[in-house]
Structure formats: C-alpha cells, structure tokens
Amino acid sequence: MLLYTLSRLARALVTVVLIVTLAFIILRMTGDPSIIILGPDAPEQAYEAFRRNWGLDQPLIVQYFKYFGAIAEGDLGRSMRDGRPALDVVMDRVPMTLALTLPALVFNLILGLGAGVFAALNRNTWIDRAIMTVSVVGFTVPSFVMGLVLAMVFAVQLKWLPSGGSGSWAHAILPVISMGMIGAAVIARFTRSAMLEVLGQPYIRTASAKGLSWGAVVLRHALPNAAIPVLTIIGFMVGSLVAGAVVIESIFSWPGLGRLLVGAVANRDLAVVQTILILIGFTMVFANLMVDLAYGWVDPRLRIRTLSTAK
C-alpha cells in the first residue's frame, strides 16, 4: 500500500511539473507581459526597463531553470502587478473561492445523489423522466447562462437576492445555486446509471429473496456497489474546488481564485498564474489520490487486487 501511495505521489509530482512547464512555455510564447501590463502607449524604454527588471530579457531556458530553482527554495515569485509574493496573492483568494465551492459541493451531493437514487428506484416512470429531463437541462445549460438567468429572476425581477458582489452571505446564494444545479445534474445522471446497473445484479435479487427489506437492500447492497463511478465524478468535483468557479466568479463579481486567474492570465502575471496552476494541480492530484484510496475502502476487492499488485 505504501509503495502504491508513493508511486501515485511521484506521478502527481510529474503531473504538476508538466503543468507548470507547459504553462511557462505557453504564457511566454503568447505575449510579452511588459506590453500587456504597461499598455500599448508606454514608451519603449519603459518596456525595456520592465523586461530587465523581471529577467524577461534573459533566454527562455535560463528563465525556466531559475524559476524552478526558486521553487525548490520555496519561492514562487512575485506578482508583476503589485510586487507581492505570488503565494500570498493566491492564498488570499482561496477562502473566498472555497466559500462558494464547498457549499456548492454539498448541494451537488445531497441533491444529485438523492435525485439519482430516486430516479433509479422509479425507473421508467414519470418521476424518472422528470428528474432526468431537469438534469439534462442542468448540465447542458452553460453556467454563465444559468447564473445570468438566476440573477435576472431573483435579483432584477423579484429583488430577493443581490445580483453580485461579496458583502454578505446572501451574496453567495445565487453563485452556489448556479454551480450546485450543474454539479447535481451530473451526479444525478451518474448515480441513476450506476444504480440501475447494480439493481439488475443477481446479488440484489439474492438479498431480496432472503427477506431483506427493500430499503436495506438499497442501502447495504445497491448503494455501496454503485458508488465507484459516482466516486470518480465526486473526485473530479473535489479536485475542482479551487479552480471550479472561474465563470461563476466573473458573473457574480465574486473576488475568488477564478477571477484572479482570469486577470492574471490576461495580464500575463506569470508568477501568479503559475502558483495557481501548481495549487490546482496539487488539489486535483490529491483529490484523485483520495478517490483511489476510497475505492479500496468502498470495494474491498480493489484493495486486495492493489495489494497483490504492489507485492
């Protein structure tokens, strides 16, 4: 198990290095930060001074190795816009993003799992079709459309909730619902499919035949076996906790990591972009690791298979 975990961690590290390397190359090939940050009207001397000051006048390969050298010393660089350490800039925004994404995840799980199980248990009835119709709408409508429609209805027309900003808990309601609706729709569809597959298995019939109540069959036998594909999706969502609100944060003027990322990419604020990517990479990889471990916990057969492979 230790070997397995270590190998996953090594792969995770390689993934993060690849992400940062790709971002490093692409960001530098698609725009000179000096022109983007200073604007098109600044004099040439200003651009030269900026490039010199930030080391952008050095060969790309030199910049690359210096950057990784600095990371090895724990220095992720500074923002080109205000000179603050990039890590501070990024970490300042993480709580704001989590304030949206964590409640949205809970919303996803409760609504999505409930709706998916309920639809599967009422297969081919009007309840099933209604739930699936709503879920199709949920995951096909883009999040920015969903956000704007909710704002139009609840902020502009009904004036029940604020249309944007972050001044109070009420400001978080519409963004959380916007994200939650979409995530819940995805989970509901996966849960339904997984449940239907499991409910057709012989061991479910056996459990029913030996006299267990239908509720007990579903809870003890169907749900755990249907959890594997759903866990994969949930893992994805947990991995997206940090980066998953880019569009919604823009629509609702929520000052989180997504807004910071959009601005930093547009401004080629290199250190900030790369710090965010490292954070996203780590979160994604960590979430995947947790899901892998959870597979073994949910399905002991996988644990045994993994152990035998590790030997």
């Binding site: 000179g83 944007g164 959009v262």
Partner: protein, 550 residues
C-alpha cells in the same frame, strides 16, 4: 476608587457626570453611499498616475488627485480652469510661473505648498536618483528579486520612462516662495501649460509619500488633494473612497464612494436594475435601450477625447505602396459603422484632432471620403495582385471593436483586397513584427491636453508609438513634428500640423481615423450628474446631486 469618590462628591460633579452620560448631538451625515460598477479600476495594480496609463484609471483618479490646472470637464470644448494653481503667467520662452491656491489640504492633513509641487516633479519621485536606479539594477534576479517599488521608495522603472516622454523638455520645477513655483524647460515648449494640466501631472504630497513604507504602499493608498481619499484598494476587486471633508472645493456630497469591479456587462446591467449599483460604466450601445426601458434608470455619455484608428505598417508587401493604403482609407464606410454599431451616438471626426484644440484646430479638414470606386481605381493603379494583407484585431478591447473590424474587413474585400483577418489576444501579438507580415492593426489615440502635440506628436512622431514600433515614418512629417513641438510661433505650428495631417492621412497614410470613441454610463435617473469627454468621473459638489435631497 478614592479619587473617583472625591470627584463625585465635588460640587457640580453630579451635573458634569450627568452631562457626560447624555447622548451627544448627532453629527448629521446623511450623505449617500454611492457604488459605481466598473469593468476595471486600473490595469497596472497601482493608483499612481505615472504608472497607470489606461483609460479606466483616468476614471477614478479625478476623485483622488488634482492638477495645478484643470479643465471644465463637463463642457464640450473643455476650457482650462484654475485648480491647485489660481493663476499662471509665461515669464519667458522657457519659464512659466504659477501661484498656488491657499488652504488646500491633502488627505493626510498637510497643507499644499511649493515643496509639494517641486517634489511631484522631482527625480526622486520618478526613481531617477542614482541610488534608486542602482536599486532597480539590483532587482534583476528573475522572480526572486526584491522588486523595485516594493522595498524602499523605488518606483518601477517604467515610471521614469513615462515621465521622460510626458515631459521631454522640462529641466526643473523650482520654488519661488511658499506659494509660487516655476516650471523651467530646456527649450521653448509651446505646450507647457497643456502638459501641466494633462493626466499624469497631478500633485502629490511630499510628506504623504515620505511617510509611506514603500512606493507600492503609497501607490495603493496615495495622498492627493481630491475630494475623496482612499480607504481600501484591491486592484481587481474594489476601490473604496470616503469623503475628504477638508476638501478645498467644499464638502464632498458623497460619504462613501465605492468603485466595484464587475467585469461582465450583463452583470453590471443586472446590478443597476436591481438597485445594487448607482452607476455602471462602459455600457455598450446595444444595452442602452434595455436600461432606458426600465423606470428610474437612464444612460448618459457620448464622444470622448479618443479616436479609433486603423494603423498601417508601410514596410511589408503591398502596403509599401501608398496607393494601396490610400485605397484602404477610401473603402471604410465610417458613417455606416457609426449608425449601425453606435446608433448614431458618436461621430466621424475631422481626422486626428478635436475641437478643444481651439486655435490649433484645422477647420475644413475631413477624413478621406467613402468612395469604393476611387479605392478600386487606386488599387488598379498600384497594380495590386491579390497578395494577402494581415489585419490584426483584439477581442473588444475597445467597444464594438470586433464588429467594426469585421465591417471594415468586408469593405476592404469588396474593393478587391485579400484581407487575412487575425484575432489576437494581446497588444504584444498585435504589434509583433517578427513574421514580416504586419500590415493593418487597431489602435486608439487620446489627446490629454488641448494641443496637437498631445496626440499626433505623442503617437506618430519620432518618439511616438507608431514610429517606435517601426511601422511608419516620413521625413517631411518628422521635420514638421519638430516645428509643432518646439516653435513658439502659433501660425507656423498650425501650418506644420495641417501639413502633417495631409501627409499621414492622405499622401503617405500611416493610419486612418475610423470614428470618435464614446463612453456610456447607466445610472439612477434621480441622480443629477454629468459625464466628461475626458473619461473622468466627477463626484464633486457641483456635479452631483440627488433629486429631493438637500
């Protein structure tokens, strides 16, 4: 305890204590709190007029800073007016003397005097002292450096570069007495008064700057003389200002003024209509009717001191022939663009000039007429063989930019040009000459003070952006640049300007003007407020009132 007992037994103590326990008369402050939803506050992350060069920065800076000379910003011809200087006179060809206004208090409580003005234009402020430049050099280590401007009072190096271009002939600013200063130039500068009034010449507090921990700390909470002072600034989120009650121009009418970043147009409109924002900026023309349909809201705004241009690179392929460039200038349906995309809310100007140039405005000058047949004839005369011509466009950096470019590109195709339309992500890609195919690109030019030097010289002469990027040059044009910039003979200057327009807009086109830019604001209808062609938002007493409030 003993002392307290003694005091309470003293004659009159009971009355004194009772008086303390009474509520104090309320200091009435029923001034409103106003929220302005903007696309962006600044683009550079700093509230520093020499670092921030964008249009959006100009919008907020007028609430915080003031210049010695300003403009009647809500009047169309933008006449100059005294601001922190009450009067000025030309002492000789090299010297202008200004008398400072008495009783001007900075946000930190200091009173404005000549030392502040001298400091504002000092090498120290622009990071040009030897030790500051050495500190900038020390900060070369990539991403691990103590970035200049963060440690110590060392501004970013671009501040000095921008200063040198804004003030090419300024030798020094000297103190005559506590309330009198002189601007001295190395050569006669006919635009000196204009430069003193331009964006970037706002006066800083010497003490306020000295007290800040770093250049950056000051740039995030600067000390100016404007009617509002900075309370909180997070560059991509919020700028919170509060009334500066010692403001020399009268008590500001707003208690708290917040500029909130709301990047999406639809979200800004929703926020206005739901009552969360009192103003929204950068309303595209196609949203105006939507806002005006709602009771209690309307849209104000119009043309500003900024023209949209199509800029040419004369070095590459077919663009080397002036006939091809001339053909392009006759193929753009400018009026159709203004009518279709702007609903007629802006206009086609008289070339790269504005009426507020006053005597320097060239009457009778116009943009090239829209004449596709003439354009086809010019192409035939040039022997154009269908070689692709690159047209580089940013994704709506300017309002209606992509639509304007699409209409222009189709019009150019109609006369037979093979337009290679390329969407670009940023300015570096727009101006990149490395593929040798740069031909047509988008741009805009502003005039920050009322003289042609502010625009045509700054953007198209030897030190201007177009010649610096190597797109275009012309010997005769450049000779006239020097006359326009340095001659004190207004007639000679005007003749030089007229000739420059002929060269760069007709004979050897370096650009062609598309239309005047316009900005629109959505706002509560019960607020009386006028917009400015200088892109600033003015929330002083004389320009802000809520109907029904005292």
């Amino acid at each position: 305890m003993t002392l307290l007992k003694t005091l309470t037994k003293a004659p009159g103590a009971a009355i004194f204590i009772a008086a303390l326990s009474l509520p104090l008369p309320a200091l009435a402050d029923d001034r409103p709190e106003i929220t302005v939803a903007v696309q962006d506050i600044v683009t550079s992350g700093a509230l520093d007029v020499m670092r921030e060069r964008s249009n959006v920065g100009a919008r907020v800076f007028f609430s915080i800073f003031e210049s010695l000379i300003d403009f009647e910003r809500q009047e169309l011809d933008l006449p100059q007016k005294p601001m922190l200087a009450t009067e000025w006179r030309q002492v000789d060809d090299l010297t202008v003397e200004l008398t400072l206004r008495e009783g001007v208090v900075f946000h930190n409580g200091d009173t404005l005097d000549a030392d502040d003005v001298v400091f504002t234009f000092s090498p120290e402020r622009f990071g040009m002292l030897p030790e500051q430049m050495a500190a900038q050099e020390d900060g070369k280590q990539l991403f691990t450096s103590n970035v200049s401007g963060v440690q110590g009072k060392v501004p970013p190096p671009e501040v000095a570069a921008i200063y040198k271009r804004s003030w090419p002939l300024l030798e020094r600013v000297e103190k005559v007495d506590d309330m009198t200063v002189r601007f001295v130039t190395t050569q006669p500068d006919p635009t000196l008064i204009g430069r003193i009034s331009r964006y970037g010449s706002e006066i800083y507090s010497q003490q306020g700057y000295a007290a800040a921990e770093s250049w950056l700390a000051h740039a995030q909470k600067p000390i100016g003389t404007g009617p509002y002072k900075v309370v909180r600034f997070e560059d991509d989120t919020i700028l919170e200002l509060e009334a500066h009650d010692e403001y020399w121009g009268g008590t500001p009418p707003i208690k708290k003024l917040t500029f909130l970043v709301v990047p999406e147009v639809a979200s800004r409109v929703n926020g206005l209509l739901s009552g969360e924002y009192d103003f929204i900026t950068d309303v595209p023309p196609d949203q105006i009717d939507l806002i005006e349909r709602e009771a209690g809201f309307h849209v104000v705004g119009g043309p500003i001191t900024n023209h949209r241009l199509m800029v040419f690179d004369k070095n590459n392929g077919a663009m080397q022939d002036p006939l091809v460039r001339r053909a392009i200038t006759h193929a753009i349906p400018r009026e159709a663009i203004v009518d279709a995309l702007w609903g007629g809310r802006t206009r086609v100007p008289a070339g790269l000039q504005w009426e507020y140039y006053g005597d320097m405005f060239i009457d009778g000058w116009e943009v090239p007429e829209y004449n596709p047949e003439l354009a086809k004839d010019l192409l035939a005369e040039a022997g154009y063989d269908g070689e692709p011509i690159q047209m580089r466009v940013l994704n709506n950096y300017y309002t209606n930019q992509v639509s304007t470019a699409q209409i222009s590109a189709e019009s150019l195709r109609q006369i037979g040009l093979n337009i290679d339309f390329q969407m670009k992500e940023n300015w570096q890609q727009i101006t990149d000459p490395s593929d040798g195919k740069r031909a047509i690109r988008d741009w805009s030019n502003s005039a920050p003070f009322p003289d042609p030097v502010a625009s045509i010289v700054n953007q198209h002469c030897q030190n201007g952006g177009q010649q610096q990027t190597g797109e275009w040059t012309n010997e005769e044009f450049n000779e006239n640049c020097l006359i326009l910039e340095r001659s004190m003979d207004q007639d000679a200057r005007k003749a030089a300007f007229a000739r420059m327009l002929e060269i760069i807009e007709r004979e050897d086109p370096g650009y062609t003007v598309l239309h005047q830019n316009a900005i629109f604001y959505g706002k509560r209808q019960d607020i009386e407020w006028e917009w400015s062609g200088l892109q600033s938002m003015d929330f002083r007493t004389e320009n802000f009132r809520i109907k029904g409030m005292q």
